[in-house]
C-alpha cells in the first residue's frame, strides 16, 4: 500500500497513470500478470480522479481541451480493443517506444521557460482551445493557446488504440502528444492527461470485469494507496518547477521505452 501511495504520487505529478510501474512490481511479488494488469487499471482511475480534483479547481487541467481529446482517445480505445484479435500488438510496442523517443526532441528546452504558441490553427480557435492558470512555483500567470488540434486528435486516437490493444493507460503517450503536437505547457499537459486517463482506464477495467480478473483483496490496498498518493500529488504539483517535473517525466519515459522494446523483442 505504501508503494502504491508513491506510485499514485508519481503518476499524479507526471500525468502517467502508474500502471507501468505497478504491474511489474506486482508480478515480482508473485501476482499473476493478468490480475496485476487489471488491478493497475483500477489504480489509474484512482490516480486520475484523486489528482484531477485539485488540477481542475486550480484551472491547470483544461476541461475543454480534455473533452475534445477524449472524443478521439475513447474512439481509439474501443477500436483498439476490437482489433486486438486481428493485428499483432508486437508492432505497437515498437511504435510506442519510437513515439515516446520523440519526447527527447524537447529535452533541450528543459532549462528554458515555456514559450506560448503565438499562432493558433482555425480548428483550435473555433473550439476555444486555450486557457491560463496561476503557476505557484514561478509566481506568475501562464497563458497558452493550443495548436494543431486535429493532429493532436490523431495522436490521441493512436494513444487510444494503444491503450485498447495493450491494456494500458498510455499516459506517457498522451503527455507527449499534448506537449509536442498541441504545444501545451508542461503542467497543463500532465494534468490534462491525468484528467483523461481515468476514462480510458475505465473502458479497460470493464474488459477485466468481464474476464473475472478483478481481485478484491489486491485492488483494495492498491486503490486506497494510489488514491492517497494522488490526492497529495494533486496539491503538490503547482508548487514544483516545470524543470523538475520534466526531469521526472523523462526518467520514467526512459524506463518505459526500455520496457516497450523488451516486450516487443520477446513477443517476436
Amino acid at each position: 500500500m505504501l508503494i502504491c501511495t508513491l506510485v499514485g504520487l508519481l503518476g499524479s505529478l507526471t500525468g502517467l497513470g502508474g500502471a507501468s510501474i505497478i504491474t511489474p512490481l506486482l508480478v515480482l511479488a508473485g501476482v499473476p500478470v493478468k490480475e496485476a494488469i487489471a488491478s493497475a487499471m483500477v489504480a489509474i482511475i484512482a490516480t486520475s480522479s484523486g489528482s484531477a480534483s485539485s488540477y481542475v479547481k486550480a484551472r491547470i487541467a483544461n476541461v475543454n481541451i480534455a473533452m475534445f481529446l477524449e472524443m478521439f482517445t475513447i474512439t481509439g480505445a474501443i477500436i483498439g480493443a476490437t482489433i486486438t484479435t486481428v493485428i499483432s500488438p508486437v508492432l505497437l510496442y515498437f511504435f510506442f517506444a519510437a513515439f515516446l523517443s520523440t519526447s527527447f526532441l524537447r529535452i533541450r528546452h528543459i532549462r528554458k521557460e515555456f514559450v506560448p504558441s503565438e499562432k493558433q490553427d482555425r480548428v483550435s480557435r473555433w473550439l476555444n482551445l486555450q486557457g491560463s492558470y496561476y503557476d505557484e512555483a514561478h509566481q506568475k500567470t501562464v497563458t497558452y493557446k493550443a495548436n494543431h488540434a486535429l493532429w493532436g486528435g490523431a495522436g490521441m486516437f493512436i494513444a487510444g488504440i494503444a491503450a485498447g490493444m495493450l491494456g494500458i493507460g498510455a499516459g506517457a503517450f498522451k503527455v507527449t502528444v499534448h506537449e509536442n503536437i498541441l504545444h501545451l505547457p508542461p503542467k497543463v499537459s500532465s494534468t490534462t492527461s491525468n484528467f483523461i486517463i481515468g476514462m480510458t482506464a475505465l473502458a479497460a477495467v470493464s474488459v477485466y470485469l468481464f474476464s473475472g480478473l478483478l481481485n478484491l483483496t489486491l485492488m483494495a490496498p492498491i486503490a486506497a494507496g494510489t488514491t492517497v498518493g494522488a490526492i497529495v500529488g494533486g496539491r503538490l504539483l503547482n508548487r514544483i518547477h516545470d524543470r523538475w517535473l520534466q526531469v521526472l517525466f523523462f526518467a520514467i519515459v526512459i524506463y518505459l521505452i526500455i520496457t516497450m522494446l523488451y516486450k516487443g523483442i520477446i513477443s517476436l
Binding site: 480522479s49 480534483s53 476541461v63 480493443a81 492558470y133 496561476y134 475505465l202 483483496t217
Partner: protein
C-alpha cells in the same frame, strides 16, 4: 493568489467536477479502508487471497453494478464494502462526463455539448459491450 477569472458557467462546471472527483475518491477511500479493516478483523490479516470468492465478475459494467447494489453479488460484509468502494471509484469518471454534458447543455455551449454527448455515447457503448 487566485486563479484567473473565467466565464461564470465554465467556473461553475470546473468547481462541480472538482467536488465530484474529490467526493468520489474520498467516499471510495472510506469504503475501502472500512472493508479492509473488517476483513483484517475477520481473517486475522490482510493478505492477497486467490480464493474464488474474492474475485468480482460481471457480464458488463452496468449489470455488475446492478447485481452488487441489489445484493446479488458479493455476500460477506468486508468484501461487499470493498466492492462498493470499487464501484464508486469506477462510477466517478463516468458521472463526470454526464455532469459535463449537463453543464454544457445548460450553458447552451452546443459545440462542447455535442462533443461531450459523443464521448458519453461511445463510453457507454464500450462499457455495455464487455
Amino acid at each position: 493568489m487566485k486563479p484567473p477569472q473565467k466565464p461564470d458557467g465554465q467556473s461553475k462546471m470546473e468547481n462541480a467536477i472538482s467536488y465530484l472527483l474529490i467526493g468520489g475518491v474520498l467516499l471510495c477511500l472510506v469504503l475501502l479502508v472500512a472493508g479492509m479493516v473488517l476483513f483484517w478483523h475477520q481473517q486475522g490479516g490482510v493478505s492477497v487471497s486467490q480464493d474464488q470468492s474474492v474475485f468480482v465478475r460481471g457480464h458488463d459494467f452496468f449489470s455488475f453494478i446492478y447485481d452488487q447494489v441489489t445484493g446479488r453479488g458479493v455476500q460477506s460484509l468486508p468484501l461487499r464494502l470493498i466492492t462498493l468502494g470499487v464501484i464508486v471509484l469506477l462510477l466517478t469518471p463516468y458521472v463526470r462526463v454526464i455532469l459535463s454534458a449537463v453543464f454544457f447543455t445548460r450553458e447552451k455551449n452546443f459545440k462542447y455539448m455535442m462533443i461531450t454527448i459523443f464521448v458519453l455515447i461511445i463510453l457507454t457503448i464500450s462499457l455495455t459491450l464487455h
